[in-house]
């Protein structure tokens, strides 16, 4: 098994260094590693391939424990491998009621597993193409969400998907967008996000994070770029998103979350705090505030956990879904055996 690691090594160290942090980048990089791995790796049986792939999945997951995308892509690839194997061996498809009670395990495929290789590679290639076109599919729904003259609010100006979504909406609709400042993390992205949309004709207003409660009654919809989505329909997103969604929920303002399917994790959120990565304190309280910093506990979460009850709708590349349906999407994409890598 050790020879599976060199292929993943580069990606693992980039994840560890947080060089890759946008889920879209991570998904693309992971699926490319998977492609190269299945083509170059010497495997003789499908179970061996599956075991080695899972090993890579575990490595990627451990490299960036709060980020699910890499593991999700590996899970999807595993599901594709299992499907190809099953298609090849009709005996395994045989699930009529007489075999339900039989305890005899079907014998491992006697055929040369290498014959499967081109099919598996093709399936992964198709999945890679799907990942590339995720944003396009999500953006296609933009005009269904935004109406003319509407005021939108977003607490996640760091999201690329959201930016493309709103740009697409701006082609057909005139609307006002309120952006929270998202202080203290990624403040440079807020400015870029605002300028890009403003140049596309959207009237953009940046507001302090604390002003949300005052302004929420002006808002028609809250749009959130989700970072990862849990099976129960809850999500993680940039810090500050949860408080905005809660205010929206209290005022009956719909919350629309955008997420590519590779962000959907088959896991339930058990330990919520473990999903959240912490940032350094210096962006909140610079070390120049010497005596204050010494005896103070400065908390700077980078992400926020949004419970599913605050989200009204998910827009994915497969269409729009209610949060209560997300577990079904997870079941469709992944096999139950691969939930724990």
């Amino acid at each position: 098994m050790p020879d599976v690691f060199p292929l993943a090594d580069a990606l693992v160290s980039r994840l560890k260094r947080r060089e890759l942090h946008l889920p879209a980048e991570i998904a693309t990089a992971t699926v490319q590693v998977m492609l190269r791995f299945v083509s170059a790796h010497r495997w003789s049986t499908v179970p061996q391939l599956i075991a080695d792939t899972r090993a890579i999945g575990r490595l990627l997951q451990d490299a960036y424990p709060t980020e699910n995308t890499a593991a999700n892509v590996v899970r999807r690839v595993l599901a594709l491998i299992r499907e190809e194997e099953r298609d090849e061996d009709p005996a395994r498809n045989d699930t009529h009621m007489f075999s339900l009670l039989s305890s005899v395990e079907p014998a491992p495929s006697s055929k040369n597993a290498q014959e499967l290789k081109p099919y598996i590679i093709q399936a992964i290639q198709e999945y890679a193409d799907e990942i590339v076109s995720v944003n396009d599919s999500i953006c296609a729904l933009a005009v269904d969400i935004v109406h003319q003259g509407e005021t939108l609010l977003t607490p996640t100006p760091g999201s690329e998907t959201l930016l493309k979504f709103l740009l697409r909406a701006a082609q057909k609709r005139t609307f006002t967008l309120l952006i929270t400042e998202c202080y203290p993390n990624n403040t440079d992205r807020v400015g870029r996000f605002a300028e890009t949309l403003s140049a596309a004709g959207v009237s953009v207003v940046i507001v302090p994070d604390a002003a949300v409660h005052t302004l929420i009654s002006l808002v028609g919809k809250v749009v959130v770029g989700a970072r990862s989505v849990m099976a129960d329909g809850s999500a993680t997103a940039a810090a500050g998103a949860s408080i905005v969604c809660e205010a929206a929920h209290a005022n009956r303002v719909p919350v629309v979350a955008l997420a590519g399917t590779y962000k959907i994790s088959p896991n339930q959120p058990v330990d919520v705090d473990a999903l959240i990565e912490m940032g350094g304190p210096e962006s909140i309280l610079p070390f120049s505030n010497g005596n204050l910093v010494n005896s103070l506990d400065v908390v700077n979460p980078l992400w926020d956990f949004i419970p599913s009850k605050f989200i009204s709708l998910y827009i994915t590349n497969l269409g729009g879904f209610s949060p209560s349906f997300v577990y079904r999407l997870a079941l469709d994409s992944y096999k139950a055996d691969d939930v724990d890598l």
């Binding site: 998202c182 207003v205 940046i206 994070d209 604390a210 002003a211 103070l296 908390v299």
Partner: protein, 408 residues
């Protein structure tokens, strides 16, 4: 982007353009005639003339000149969104006629957001008025009290130019005018003595003693081992927490803060000086720390007659999040902040802060705007109780207190 610029203009847009053009022309003519407006105009003129060479002829050039004109008044003009809330310019020298120097100094400091907090602003205003009354010279052949009333009106008008009066300031002014009307027939020295003493008593009773009583009521409510969350800075909250520590209570405080005013830092400094263990978190991290909180204590700008708490923007978010998690929310509020006004949302009456204080990282040539509202409104169902110098009250008792207070 390109096709947006080259799109033919709709009639409404054309009309708007023509209007802007006309306004610009009129302004230019005025600038040539009048001297007073010269500096502002001159700054823009050269750039206006230079522009048509570099940009496309026709519409775009006009558009740009119109936008620079509005930028000169405010880079962040908001237009229709909350257009009813005005943005007051920063005050500065020279001292206007008829304005006392103490009042002028206070107005400038308020205008720069150096004097913050409803209680502090009220106290500083009363002290400035006290000095003004001491220094006041009655014009010949007039009654002191009568002319003082008009003079006071001018001071108040000037303070209003800095920032809208706080509810506490409004209540104090109403009281002061009443006091002046009580001594209409007295001589100058008597009036001065009476008023100076009355102001001293008012500050002692309504501000100092009130916060002392609130502290006595609130400290026993803090349990050992409590984790108390508070937002921004409130002088009463700070006093209560420090008194509790001095009384031997063992607790921790989480200070939630928000840009751009960063008032929480001031509270941090006060609490740290009192050796109270603190955590510091921005609004975006609120939900992360909320699970360990046992009580939320908040200060107030005002309590409205319908039970709404009007306070620094962000207060309502903290109160609502805590209430959703069954964490009790207490408000510490002196009764001088009670107002007979009613308000349902924080948009109808609010105050705008200066957006340039937000220090946004946006380019100069963009039409991105910034909106900085100073207050929000917390609904009564997010408030467990209000601790005032008159006792612990539910939000629904605010109008009762106002009636009793006015009658006495």
């Amino acid at each position: 982007m390109d096709d947006v610029e080259q799109k033919p203009l709709s009639p409404a847009e054309l009309k708007k353009l023509k209007k802007a053009e006309k306004a610009a022309r009129r302004k230019e003519q005025k600038g040539e005639q009048g001297v007073s407006q010269a500096p502002q105009q001159n700054r823009h003129k050269p750039s206006n003339k230079a522009k048509p060479d570099s940009t496309k002829p026709g519409t775009t050039a006009h558009k740009k000149s119109a936008s620079t004109d509005t930028q000169s008044t405010s880079q962040y003009a908001l237009g229709t969104l909350l257009g009813h809330l005005e943005l007051r310019p920063r005050l500065g020298a020279p001292v206007p006629e008829d304005v006392n120097s103490a009042v002028f100094e206070l107005a400038v400091r308020m205008s720069a957001f150096q004097v913050l907090g409803s209680t502090e602003r009220c106290r500083q205003m009363l002290l400035a008025f006290q000095r003004m009354i001491r220094e006041y010279r009655t014009p010949p052949d007039t009654l002191m009290a009568r002319s003082l009333n008009t003079h006071l009106g001018k001071q108040i008008e000037y303070l209003k130019q800095a920032r809208p009066l706080s509810v506490s300031m409004g209540n104090a002014i109403r009281w002061l005018k009443q006091e002046i009307s009580k001594c209409l027939n007295d001589s100058e020295d008597v009036v001065k003595d009476n008023l100076v003493n009355a102001i001293e008593d008012f500050i002692r009773d309504k501000l100092d003693a009130a916060s002392q009583v609130i502290s006595q009521l609130a400290v026993p409510q803090i349990n050992d081992g409590a984790v108390i969350m508070t937002f921004a800075h409130s002088s009463v909250v700070s006093k209560v927490l420090r008194d509790a520590k001095r009384g031997g209570k063992d607790f921790r405080v989480i200070v939630v803060d928000s840009r751009p005013l960063l008032e929480g830092k001031k509270l941090l400094q006060e609490l740290q000086a009192a050796d109270i263990p603190c955590s510091y978190v921005f609004m975006t991290g609120l939900h992360y720390v909320l699970s360990e909180v046992t009580a939320v204590v908040l200060g107030a700008h005002a309590m409205f007659s319908n039970g709404m708490l009007y306070s620094r923007a962000g207060t309502a978010l903290v109160a609502q999040s805590a209430t959703d998690r069954n964490i009790p929310v207490l408000v510490y509020c002196e009764s001088i902040k009670f107002s007979d006004r009613v308000q349902l949302d924080a948009l109808t009456t609010n105050e705008l802060g200066r957006p340039e204080d937000m220090n946004l990282q946006i380019g100069a040539n963009t039409s991105v705007k910034a909106l900085h509202v100073l207050y929000d409104l917390t609904p009564p169902d997010c408030i467990r109780k209000i601790v005032t110098e008159l006792g612990n009250l539910p939000p629904s008792s605010v109008p009762v207190v106002i009636r009793e207070y006015r009658n006495s």
